[in-house]
């Protein structure tokens, strides 16, 4: 069956090649040797990079922001200027093919299936939500030999040796880092001695809640309760009443906008919790709108600290952000920089492995993946990227904590940089 599929691909490609009058020669031996073959880009055809981000629904601000980062990266590539011209590799335009992942396993499957239909897709930037990737999109792309590079998946499970897909990488930080920073902030800065966590069962929220709980207990704090909730309910007040019986000082609920907003409201109304905290899933003005400004005031939110970018802060402030603002308005999330980096390491790897054959370009798939995993000391916007064998390209990350004042996010009130290993 593998063979027949290959035959079909070859047949289609040759037809396309004939139809377009391109005159590429035979297939280079690198392609024949490659388990997944090559992507062959005929003369005049673009190099296609897929994106699989959450671009509809209540979490769309997360994905649209990353999509903007990817588009800016394609713009900047080659001419090193945000001038609206699309970057090129060996005379081929770089084209983004955007799909939606809906922030769910089903959405991830559907979007991924659609992208793999296009055999010209070289690599995919995504997903936004860990639930769309874990065991779903990573597997579908991995089975086709397509690398998946996520700008904002942070669930530890995605890069756990046991569950890591060989074609999966990410430029987002691993949440073991974020959980540790929030725990450090809670116990040292706030002086909280006890905490409870809520997550919604998504790999992102669960991973973060668990990482926080582990670090918090290690720092000497007490975790009174860890519960998960059902998304989509209209009332969490009894769950909060239940949690309050354990008497935690801090309630940490690193979930998404809708439930995050409601729980913020009801926790404020409940009045038993001294501190409330969430993370990047709620780091958007939408969450403040959902919670109500009065309720959101004083809640702590963590996320990557872009003011402390280990990379070129000057470039970010003076070139990247203005270009972003001009086309897309104010950023609605913090992952555009990670997305920018993701596209750049992918394009760099393509450039490294592509075989030029006249005007035709051959990109061997396995070689591309290997080149991506070999990324070492890449000077990125978010810092120096080095990908390890499990796909984590951020070996350390700066995580900041903000609070809400008068219905707006404050400047960072706390910031710390931690490495992946402890």
């Amino acid at each position: 069956m593998k063979l027949s599929r290959l035959l079909v691909i070859v047949a289609v490609l040759s037809l396309v090649a004939v139809a377009c009058g391109g005159g590429g020669g035979g297939t280079p031996e690198e392609c024949e040797a490659d388990e997944f073959g090559c992507v062959t880009v005929a003369a005049g055809e673009p190099i296609k990079i897929g994106t699989l981000l959450v671009i509809t629904g209540e979490n769309q601000t997360l994905g649209l922001d990353s999509q903007a980062g990817a588009e800016l990266a394609v713009d900047y590539w080659g001419d090193n200027a945000f001038d609206g011209t699309v970057g090129q590799i060996a005379g081929h335009d770089i084209e983004l093919v955007n799909e939606d992942e809906g922030c769910s396993a089903e959405g991830g499957t559907a979007g991924a299936q659609r992208l793999v239909t296009d055999t010209q897709i070289v690599a995919v930037i995504g997903t936004s939500c860990s639930s769309a990737a874990l065991g779903v999109a990573d597997k579908i792309f991995g089975d086709q030999g397509i690398p998946l590079v996520s700008p904002s998946n942070t669930s530890p499970a995605l890069t756990n040796p046991g569950t890591h897909n060989p074609f999966y990488l990410r430029t987002a930080h691993n949440d073991t880092i974020q959980g540790a920073v929030v725990a450090e902030f809670a116990s040292q800065e706030l002086g909280a001695a006890s905490a409870a966590t809520i997550h919604d069962g998504s790999p992102y929220a669960e991973g973060l809640a668990n990482a926080f709980a582990a670090a918090f207990e290690e720092a000497g704090g007490t975790i009174t309760d860890q519960v998960s909730i059902q998304t989509g309910e209209s009332d969490y007040s009894s769950i909060l009443t239940d949690l309050a019986t354990g008497g935690p000082e801090l309630l940490y609920y690193p979930i998404f906008v809708a439930e995050g907003g409601l729980i913020t409201q009801q926790a404020v109304e409940n009045g038993s919790f001294t501190y409330l905290a969430g993370s990047d899933g709620m780091f958007t003005p939408d969450w403040i709108a959902a919670a109500g400004a009065e309720n959101a005031d004083g809640v702590y939110i963590s996320g990557p600290d872009l003011s402390q970018l280990a990379g070129d802060a000057d470039f970010y402030e003076n070139e990247f952000l203005p270009a972003y603002n001009e086309t897309y308005g104010e950023p609605t999330s913090v992952f555009h920089a990670h997305s920018f980096d993701a596209v750049n390491i992918v394009l760099t790897a393509i450039e490294a492995v592509a075989i030029e054959d006249g005007d035709t370009l051959h990109i061997p798939r396995t070689a591309l993946k290997d080149a991506l995993f070999a990324t070492e000391n890449f000077p990125g916007l978010t810092g120096t990227l080095s990908c390890n064998e499990n796909g984590d390209c951020q070996q350390s990350a700066t995580i900041g904590v903000v609070t809400v004042e008068n219905g707006d996010f404050s400047d960072y009130v706390y910031s710390a940089t931690k490495g992946l290993e402890g």
Partner: protein, 572 residues
């Protein structure tokens, strides 16, 4: 000339166009070209709205107005002017600093651009009025056309819309057939030349077939085809199309058709419960979930199950799909009976809410922290093994597609056999009047449980393929919406009708998948279609023979009194 009906239809038409703008559809559709540089989809939709409401005006108009071109022109112009005037008012409001968008989010610059076709509101009013008048006149003219020119118009419009909208489906298909597409499509829209060529081709073919008296007749002119074997030949052609579709359209088409196949399985199962036996089940997704999770538990790499450490399992699947399948059937039947047993005494809507409750209970349990060690919580069970199929690579959705088609055929056979048998008659009697069926010797308990069990068995087949198709089983796939979808497939197709299930699945499941580019408006359009079809064809698209008779039969000759109506408290 006073034409109140025309004015009224026009006003409604204008309101509809404004509605489409206010919900953002026109804006979204303006991103989609049908013919490069000539027609965008938003224009098509607006023209269609003007045209349809002009036709509507004729339907309502009487006497002279019913034939005069004036009716259509009035209706169309009123629709266009209404739209234009409101757009001007809105733009004035925006200019005056009223923050319309704080409430109506889509009244953005892009909205004005889409609805005025890229001009300004004042010019837009003129353009809209002109388009309205032209479409109104076209509607009037269309009514007067002779059949042949009418066919030509319909064919041209239909072909261009179908090929234009389906570009992302047809391009890979054409390429799969080895046909170059550059002449026909440019950046997912038809080229002008391409549109002309395909229109002419379509018209020629259509007229040729018409002259020959239809496709079948035309087919008999092919050497070797006779009227007697035209049926099997058509059938064979259909079978070849079904079998070849995924190769021509590649993975995506195979994936969509596979999903349609799954819904055919689910629909056939629910059809037994609702259509045959008359038990309104709103929790049918339970069996889908049971099938999926049983297969997933048995065939996933067990290290992906959280409980693997508890049960000390080796990190490999417990068994393969073909062993898991019969186990799944048994589990589903048992659960079907367990769910059926307590609700035997409940009727109609009480049954509906309780089955809905069971569906929710099952979904919540597989989602819960409590049973997470077994079912994996929200992320479900990952790394489900592929279906081993004679050494083929089932990772390829095409192979799975064939398996699903094969099982759908088996289920079709089962459903057909059951329907026209002693068992099927007992169900039908029970559906019509439970008391009397019991009086005629039908054991209502036994046949209700049998219906639940058979429904569960067929439905779990759909479920069984689901994780194999997705590679995971997770609770997000087993929401109430699935139950509703399957019920809609059954009712829309025609209750109790087997071909109805196939058509219902194709329309309600296949079409939305293909129209994925409408993105957030998919469910919006889906809802509207559901309402429209049910109002236009309450008996379903392909009604069961008996039901069609029933709905169109004359009233009984003498009144049978209210008791007959009250005597059928079930689903009827």
């Amino acid at each position: 000339m006073r034409q109140p009906q025309a004015v009224r239809a026009g006003l409604i038409g204008g309101a509809v166009v404004l509605y489409l703008g206010a919900v953002g559809m026109l804006e979204r559709f303006s991103e989609r070209s049908i013919i490069v540089g000539l027609i965008r989809f938003n224009l098509v939709v607006m023209m269609a709205a003007f045209f349809v409401f002009a036709l509507f005006a004729y339907r309502r108009a009487t006497g002279e107005a019913n034939t005069s071109l004036g009716t259509g022109i009035t209706a169309g112009t009123v629709a266009g002017v209404t739209t234009g005037v409101v757009v001007i008012i809105l733009s004035l409001l925006v200019d005056a600093g009223v923050d319309v968008r704080s409430m109506f989010l889509r009244i953005s610059p892009a909205f004005f651009e889409a609805i005025t076709l890229g001009t300004n509101p004042y010019l837009g009013l003129v353009i809209l009025a002109v388009i309205g008048a032209v479409m109104g006149a076209a509607a009037g003219g269309f009514r007067r056309l002779q059949p042949t020119p009418r066919t030509i118009v319909i064919t041209v419009v239909g072909t261009v819309l179908l090929l234009g909208l389906g570009a992302r489906l047809f391009i890979p298909m054409l390429q799969g057939l080895g046909i170059p597409t550059a002449w026909l499509y440019r950046s997912d829209a038809l080229t002008i030349l391409g549109a002309v060529i395909v229109s002419v081709l379509a018209v020629v073919i259509r007229l040729y077939l018409q002259r020959k008296g239809g496709f079948r007749k035309a087919l008999t002119e092919v050497p070797g085809v006779t009227p007697s074997n035209v049926r099997p030949i058509l059938f064979a052609l259909g079978a070849i199309a079904v079998l070849a579709a995924p190769w021509i359209g590649k993975q995506f088409v195979a994936d969509v058709l596979g999903t349609v196949g799954l819904y055919i399985l689910l629909g056939l199962g629910l059809n037994i419960v609702v259509g045959y036996a008359g038990l309104l089940d709103l929790g049918y997704v339970a069996f889908f979930a049971v099938g999926a999770y049983t297969v997933a538990l048995l065939t996933a790499r067990s290290s992906s199950m959280v409980g693997a450490t508890i049960f000390d399992l080796a990190p490999e699947p417990l068994t393969n799909f073909w062993v898991a399948l019969p186990i799944t059937l048994v589990v589903a039947v048992v659960i079907g009976i367990l769910i059926g047993a307590p609700v035997l005494r409940l009727r109609g809507d009480y049954l509906a809410i309780v089955t809905l409750g069971f569906g929710e209970i099952i979904r919540v349990l597989i989602l819960s922290d409590w049973l997470k060690p077994i079912f994996g919580g929200p992320q479900g069970i990952t790394e489900v093994a592929d279906v081993p199929a004679f050494g083929a690579d089932t990772n390829d959705p095409r192979v799975l597609y064939y398996l699903i088609i094969a099982f759908a055929l088996i289920s079709l056979f089962i459903a057909g056999r059951l329907k026209n048998s002693r068992v099927g008659r007992a169900w039908a009697a029970m559906r019509e009047d439970e008391d009397i069926a019991e009086g005629m010797g039908v054991s209502v308990i036994k046949y209700k449980l049998l219906a639940f069990a058979m429904g569960a068995a067929v439905g779990c087949l759909g479920g069984a393929f689901f994780p194999a198709k997705l590679g995971v089983a997770n609770p997000g796939s087993f929401t109430l919406l699935v139950s509703i979808n399957v019920l809609a497939v059954v009712v829309l197709g025609g209750m109790g009708s087997i071909p109805g299930v196939i058509v219902g699945s194709a329309i309600l499941v296949g079409l939305p998948e293909l129209l994925r580019e409408f993105g957030e408006y998919r469910l919006h359009i889906y809802g509207a279609i559901l309402v429209m079809i049910m109002i236009l064809k309450p008996e379903g698209l392909i009604p069961d023979r008996r039901r069609a008779l029933e709905l169109h039969a004359e009233e009984p000759h003498e009144s049978v009194g209210p008791l007959t109506a009250a005597a059928t408290p079930g689903v009827q």
